[in-house]
């Protein structure tokens, strides 16, 4: 792996950038306000800076991959992407239609489309629905946020 292409190295640069933003933002504040951001910021600049500099000269040291799966993981980019899309989809769906619907539907669809039986998918979805609605909402009175769609149409 060539050093300047390593994501690991670039994360260090992102950290430096983030820290600089925090420090510039707080520069004009009172002593009590900026003391901590500046002390911590300086610390991060030193550690992340050293990491970046050493990375250029020595390369970025990584943990040895102990799992053999790790190698095959890298090859299967399509699968990674498809998993990411599923996760993203459910995270978008939850605020839109509400937890009570989005989560069981996700569980059902995911299992069904990944080759599990209809019965198993349906039972799993029902269990999680029951947990949300009967246990959390009805028995212990958790008030979940209202779905955005309902907020838009209704109140």
């Amino acid at each position: 792996m060539i050093w300047y292409r390593s994501i690991t190295w670039w994360i260090g640069i992102v950290m430096i950038a983030l820290t600089l933003i925090i420090m510039t933002e707080s520069a004009g504040w009172s002593m009590g306000g900026k003391l901590f951001p500046w002390i911590i910021g300086s610390g991060v600049l030193i550690t992340a800076g050293l990491h970046s500099i050493l990375g250029i000269f020595q390369g970025v040291k990584l943990a040895e991959d102990e799992d053999e799966e790790a190698e095959s993981e890298k090859l299967d980019l399509r699968r990674v992407l498809s998993v990411f899309i599923w996760v993203l989809a459910v995270l978008v769906a939850v605020p839109l239609v509400g937890l009570q619907i989005a989560v069981p539907v996700f569980v059902f669809l995911f299992m069904k489309l990944h080759g599990e039986t209809l019965t198993l998918a349906a039972i799993s979805a029902l269990v999680i629905y029951g947990f949300i609605v009967f246990v959390l909402e009805d028995i212990i009175h958790v008030v979940f946020p209202q779905a955005l769609i309902i907020q838009w149409i209704g109140f």
Binding site: W29, S30, G33, H141, I150
Partner: protein, 352 residues
């Protein structure tokens, strides 16, 4: 799915209700109503509301069960915003918003609290206490004490802190040093105990529950209390038997009464009567507000409730009704624009 359908049904019902001119008759029979508070479970507000809630139910039409729900965060602003934006205006959820009027007066609140349907308010007061070894026995010692008084605070922007600093500044700028950042009134108490600070604040209910213990231990004693304004605007004691800061100021420094500092002090003082503001969400029919107002006013005088307060030696609170609350709130909102007051508050609340 049922939830979703019933939600849709609810919307249809609400739309049809908006169309029909009938006014809902207030009756909570067989229902569960809630008081939503803006501080967490276990906070003083929570303890007070939980003690009070069962008595309120007795006086509401239909005698519903009253439950308490805490929506803490952002020093009371998150619960307030939730009450404003997310709670249905059906009269079933009463917001109990602690210290939010003072916040509105001295800082920023994300929603316009004058737009709530006001129900009424309950006053609150703070006690100023000091370590005995600080050499301060009574408030007048503050004038003569030779060293700086070290004062603990949750934040420089808390109303109690602003008030007492305005008062101490009237003696001269260098009379005190502020150490801010403690977690709540009990965090301050911890700091007083360790000797880190000499002076701090506690609300009157907490103070009364602990006073005997303090007396026995002999480590701290109270020197003043904030008191609260009565309906005529006069500052009266809250029942903790200590002089009010206002009276002390008038007595010790009569010639500074016209100053901007005192003006700002009185302005913050005015919010104390509305320390616990009770509201319904905007657009709630007024009849609900009237029903709640009536029930709260009766419950606060309920013999059972007063007996419970006596058990904790807590002071008996006063209820400010809907009309007076609305009027006072409007006054505060208007005075907030007074440049002299704004400048003073800005000066005393520190910088970001």
């Amino acid at each position: 799915m049922f939830r979703f359908l019933s939600g849709l049904g609810g919307i249809l019902l609400a739309v049809s209700l908006l169309v029909s001119p009938a006014i809902a008759e207030v009756n909570f029979a067989g229902k569960t109503v809630r008081i939503l508070i803006n501080f967490g479970v276990g906070s003083s507000t929570d303890v007070m509301t939980r003690q009070f809630a069962p008595f309120v139910g007795q006086y509401l039409p239909g005698n519903p069960t009253v439950i308490v729900e805490a929506k803490p965060g952002g020093r009371g602003t998150l619960g307030t915003a939730y009450m404003y934006k997310n709670v249905k205006p059906d009269g079933m959820t009463l917001g109990g918003l602690t210290i939010i009027v003072a916040r509105m007066a001295t800082a920023k609140v994300p929603v316009d609290i004058t737009k709530f349907v006001q129900v009424g308010a309950r006053g609150g007061a703070a006690v100023v206490y000091v370590r005995k070894d600080s050499g301060i026995k009574t408030a007048s010692d503050l004038k003569s004490v030779s060293q700086k008084v070290i004062m603990g605070a949750t934040t420089p922007r808390s109303p109690s802190v602003m008030q007492i600093r305005l008062f101490l500044n009237a003696f001269g700028q260098d009379k005190h040093k502020l150490i801010a950042g403690y977690k709540g009134q009990l965090g301050m108490l911890k700091a007083v105990r360790s000797g880190e600070v000499q002076m701090a604040f506690m609300n009157n209910g907490q103070w009364m529950a602990r006073r005997d213990g303090f007396t026995k231990e002999g480590l701290v004693h109270g020197i003043m209390e904030s008191g609260q304004n009565d309906a005529s605007g006069k500052v009266v004691g809250s029942g903790v038997k200590l002089p009010t800061v206002d009276a002390t100021w008038r007595k010790l420094l009569p010639d500074t009464i016209g100053s901007d500092g005192y003006k700002a002090f009185s302005f913050i003082q005015q919010t104390r009567a509305l320390n616990y503001l009770y509201v319904l969400p905007p657009k709630t029919p007024v009849d609900y507000a009237k029903a709640w107002d009536k029930a709260m006013a009766s419950a606060i005088k309920d013999p059972g409730y007063l007996a419970l307060l006596d058990k904790n030696s807590a002071p008996h609170p006063a209820w400010t009704n809907r009309d007076t609350t609305t009027k006072t709130l409007m006054q505060i909102a208007a005075k907030k624009n007074d440049p002299a007051i704004t400048a003073m508050i800005k000066k005393i609340s520190g910088k970001k």
